[in-house]
């Protein structure tokens, strides 16, 4: 499965992980581009129903970052 590029949806907290991701971008750290981010105001905002519907809509994996 080396050539499989997974689609991953990341729910990131505005104050923690999203800022971390932003800093990673600014400091030009290399990380794979399979991740697409959704900024939420708090990772507590992420409902399990969002995760299940994301999988239904075609994402292969989910990351919740707080």
């Amino acid at each position: 499965m080396a050539d499989f590029e997974p689609k991953i949806l990341a729910f990131l907290c505005n104050w923690c992980a999203y800022a971390g991701a932003d800093l990673a971008g600014v400091s030009r750290l290399q990380y794979p581009s399979n991740l697409r981010t959704v900024r939420v105001m708090c990772s507590g905002r992420v409902d399990p129903a969002f995760i299940v519907s994301a999988l239904k809509e075609g994402w292969d994996g989910i990351l919740v970052g707080g």
């Binding site: 990341a10 971390g20 519907s53 292969d60 994996g61």
Partner: protein
């Protein structure tokens, strides 16, 4: 809970990751992202056709009242105690939650099997892979909550339909 549900459904808990990254930890974010991607890569693409019923049942399960109430009361029950002032150990709470999770997931599977056109207990059991006895037990539960209806006998087999 959602990870346990994904394991139960055969989707795999590895598809859902939780990570705590502070705003100053850019390197940690890059590491977490790389790790998550490699874990999901190992699992391979999600076969949405094969898991259509499992995903539908997961959706019903996470939206069901019982589980939402249970999850919402976790801190109250384990730290402050129930309405009679008795607090429950976390392990006890977890086992109740897990039992409810499994029951609700199986009930959702049965409901979807009926929607798909299943009729008898044997038919539902074949579609969902659940044991016959378990299906009839949960059907009675679904009947009580008016999600399923008994539609009479057909060739000496009781027939059910989803409402």
């Amino acid at each position: 809970m959602t990870q346990r549900l994904f394991d139960l459904a055969g989707i795999g808990a590895e598809r859902l990751h939780l990570a705590w990254v502070s705003s100053a930890e850019a390197q940690r974010f890059a590491d977490v992202a790389t790790e998550v991607i490699s874990k999901v890569q190992e699992k391979g693409p999600l076969d949405r056709k094969a898991f259509a019923m499992a995903l539908g049942a997961c959706e019903m399960t996470v939206n069901c009242e019982t589980l939402r109430w249970l999850v919402g009361k976790e801190v109250k029950i384990t730290a402050k105690g129930d309405v009679y002032g008795r607090s429950w150990p976390v392990a006890r709470y977890e086992s109740v939650l897990n039992a409810a999770l499994e029951r609700e997931y199986h009930k959702s599977l049965i409901y979807l099997a009926l929607k798909e056109g299943g009729t008898s207990v044997r038919d539902i059991s074949e579609r969902t892979g659940l044991a016959l006895k378990h299906v009839s037990y949960l059907l009675a539960d679904l009947e009580k909550t008016k999600q399923v209806e008994f539609r009479g006998m057909q060739e000496r087999k009781p027939v059910f339909a989803a409402l």
